[in-house]
């Protein structure tokens, strides 16, 4: 029998009375595959305690289309049609590393003019991808208006891509050894190859100045908004070490303060001829990730303007055999895509198509960071963090 009033037992008594706790169970919340903010069909299985999120598991594969396997039964020229559907927001960028890999195996030197046209269109694809991100991200933190402006501005860039290639999203414009004659150009003959449509330089200059203007507008209207800052600053901080350990690349890595850009590190396109900055963030939070992308749009527009001024003349196509057979060998080509590093590992056995094609996509590695970044976040922050990673499900699942 314990006497509660005995001073010796008082301690035990008070301890016993505070150890009573209400047991609550976490709720499992399925975010996606059908959800307005998962950019397609990503599914997150989250354990939530009220608004707090613990233990997030991304479930992938709802959009797996088997492109790597399909590529094994296609010829090289046919595969460009497949690969520009991987990240459909920036279709043109996906073709470049694949074509560059095939060209490297065949040891073909691509004419300078073709390289310049490729570069211009790649940067335009980057701009259009970042426009989509800008509009969608504002939508995810609750601002409904910016997406209308972003889409309208993007349309101007897509119109230019269409005028050259004939397709807005899926250009299928690259050929091994060069590029296709433009859609708006007249009949091709050996003497008179009109590669770019009439008025392209003029329209591009106007459009790129509009892009710079639009980026400035975004900086003022979204970046300067107090509510937007409150929602994104110091939210979802990603340190450079964690980012590198998980293979995160592209604007997300740069926002964490790592100055890593494959455009300067590799030579798949002649970026070394142009003068541009690589925007880098400081804190690695959602605001920085947004900010880096807006600044990148301006830099891309500057690259395009310079490329137009210094456009070399010459042929569009190198000499290639009629039937394209890639010699036996293997190569890995990587490129800086709007979403991050994209790479193609091509193994050729000397046939019409690759023996095996491995695609390394940026979004897949970027999504792998989600469980770490979302640990302990609030539900609205989950959406803000997820949006700031800017992934496309086609790019995740292939």
């Amino acid at each position: 029998m314990i006497n509660a009033l005995d001073p010796q037992n008082m301690n035990n008594f008070s301890e016993a009375s505070v150890s009573v706790e209400i047991e609550t169970e976490d709720m499992t919340l399925n975010i996606g595959p059908q959800h307005p903010s998962t950019h397609g069909v990503l599914r997150l299985v989250a354990k939530v305690d009220g608004e707090k999120v613990h233990d997030v598991k991304p479930v992938l594969g709802y959009m797996h289309r088997g492109y790597e396997k399909l590529a094994e039964v296609r010829t090289y020229p046919q595969i460009t049609t497949l690969v520009n559907r991987i990240d459909w927001v920036a279709g043109f960028s996906n073709e470049i590393p694949f074509i560059a890999g095939a060209e490297r195996l065949m040891e073909i030197e691509v004419p300078e003019r073709a390289k310049h046209i490729r570069l211009i269109l790649t940067e335009m694809a980057r701009i259009s991808s970042h426009f989509v991100f800008n509009g969608a991200y504002a939508l995810e933190v609750g601002a409904l208006t910016p997406i209308f402006y972003a889409m309208e501005d993007r349309e101007r860039v897509l119109d230019l891509i269409e005028s050259v290639t004939g397709g807005r999203f899926h250009p299928n414009f690259n050929r091994i050894g060069g590029v296709k004659p433009a859609a708006g150009a007249g009949p091709t003959s050996k003497k008179n190859i009109q590669d770019l449509p009439a008025g392209f330089y003029r329209d591009t200059k106007v459009a790129m100045e509009k892009v710079i203007e639009a980026a400035d507008q975004f900086q003022n209207l979204i970046g300067g908004n107090e509510v937007f800052k409150k929602r994104t600053k110091n939210v979802g901080v990603l340190t450079a070490e964690t980012a590198e350990a998980y293979g995160v690349s592209g604007p997300i890595l740069r926002a964490s303060g790592v100055k890593s850009d494959l455009r300067t590190q590799t030579d798949y396109l002649p970026y070394d001829q142009f003068d541009y900055d690589i925007p880098v963030g400081e804190n690695g939070d959602c605001y920085d990730r947004w900010d880096v992308r807006v600044k990148e749009m301006v830099e891309s527009a500057k690259i395009v303007l310079q490329a137009i001024d210094s456009m070399p003349s010459g042929p569009l196509q190198a000499k290639v055999p009629k039937v394209i057979k890639v010699p036996k060998g293997r190569t890995y080509v990587r490129a800086e895509n709007p979403k991050g590093e994209m790479g193609y590992y091509i193994i050729s056995d000397g046939g019409l198509g690759p023996y095996r094609l491995k695609v390394r996509t940026a979004s897949f590695s970027n999504v792998s960071i989600l469980p770490i970044m979302l640990e302990g976040a609030l539900l609205p922050d989950l959406i803000a963090i997820m949006g700031s990673l800017d992934f496309v499900l086609g790019d995740v699942d292939r």
């Binding site: 709720m27 919340l29 959800h35 307005p36 903010s37 608004e51 504002a138 939508l139 995810e140 933190v141 609750g142 601002a143 409904l144 208006t145 209308f148 402006y149 309208e152 209207l221 908004n225 509510v227 937007f228 409150k230 929602r231 609030l378 539900l379 609205p380 922050d381 989950l382 959406i383």
Partner: protein, 323 residues
């Protein structure tokens, strides 16, 4: 009996008209800011667009999921709408054009305006959907946080007017010659408008709906006519809270320098104009601001608005007694 019927009919028509005016204003404001051709140019300069939207909802199937708590699920929208319509009863369009000039008009208005949240909470609970539930709980949290500043902001006006009747408050402002917002209640007015925005669940305080987070919050499972009722109630609520704000702070149906004997003729026009101006501000905010986070809203309410409104009451009381 006829008297009551006329009054009820007036309420229904006034409430619906207010909602329609604000729907058109919201859609027009949105399309103007977002350069949307649909509501801006198509069909009578875009004015039939809201009509098309309403027709779309009416002809849609009214889906009731199998797992829901049927009676609660079915009645929740009606509950929200009734609380909005009932609010119209106390707002005076002129000294005589008022359905019920209650002695405790302000008290009635504040009490009824928070009833709608129960409808929202039941809608969220009965939907048998986790997103709906979170939306409903967020709405409840918001109600607790925002009802206090809303009431405390009005207390200043009540002290100054020495009455709780809405007609009495307007008459006091006519007597003073200036509306209360100029005569010392500017802080109260700002607090009231912020709290009212949270109360009607509009951007930047639309967390209970939060379409990018909770798909559509407590409305996720609703479709067809029931969704439409929620949709219209939102605008009714917006209209009526703006009307109450203009009655309490902006001089209601009267404008200084106009002859008071003609007030029955110009009163309704003046009140609706003031309401529309306030509504336009809400529309502009809605289409230009992102959404706050739930904890940021609670911080704003408990750490800034409630202390500010308490200080406002203190200052008003000192002025009242001292001068």
């Amino acid at each position: 009996m006829t008297d009551v019927l006329i009054k009820v009919g007036f309420l229904a028509i006034a409430a619906l008209n207010g909602a329609v005016i604000f729907t058109i204003m919201d859609v027009k404001g949105a399309s103007w800011m977002q350069r949307r051709p649909g509501p801006l140019h198509v069909g009578l300069r875009g004015f039939i667009f809201p009509l098309a939207e309403i027709l779309k909802f009416v002809q849609k199937e009214d889906i009731i999921p199998t797992e829901v708590d049927r009676p609660v699920f079915k009645w929740a929208p009606a509950y929200v709408m009734v609380s909005c319509v009932a609010l119209f009863a106390v707002v005076p369009l002129s000294p005589t054009l008022v359905v019920a000039d209650l002695e405790l008009g302000v008290f009635f208005a504040l009490a009824i305006s928070s009833l709608g949240t129960i409808g929202v909470l039941t809608a969220g609970w009965s939907s048998a959907n986790k997103y709906s539930l979170m939306g409903g709980l967020r709405a409840a949290g918001q109600l607790i946080a925002y009802e206090l500043p809303l009431i405390l902001a009005v207390v200043g006006v009540v002290i100054q007017a020495e009455t709780m009747s809405l007609v009495g408050i307007v008459e006091k402002q006519i007597e003073w010659g200036v509306p209360f917002v100029v005569g010392g209640q500017i802080v109260g007015f700002l607090i009231f408008m912020v709290a009212a925005t949270a109360e009607m669940m509009r951007v930047p305080f639309d967390m209970p709906i939060g379409e990018s987070e909770l798909t559509m919050g407590f409305m996720t499972e609703y479709s067809g006519i029931r969704f439409l009722i929620f949709y219209i109630s939102e605008y009714m609520n917006m209209f009526i809270l703006c009307a109450i704000a203009s009655t309490l702070f902006l001089g209601g149906y009267h404008v200084p320098l106009l002859p008071t004997e003609w007030v029955n003729f110009y009163g309704p026009v003046v009140l609706i104009t003031k309401t529309a101006i306030l509504g336009f501000i809400l529309v502009a905010v809605r289409w230009s601001q992102p959404r706050f986070r739930e904890d940021q809203l609670q911080n704003l309410a408990w750490k800034i608005l409630i202390p500010a409104s308490l200080i406002n009451i203190l200052v008003t009381a000192i002025m009242k007694v001292g001068f």
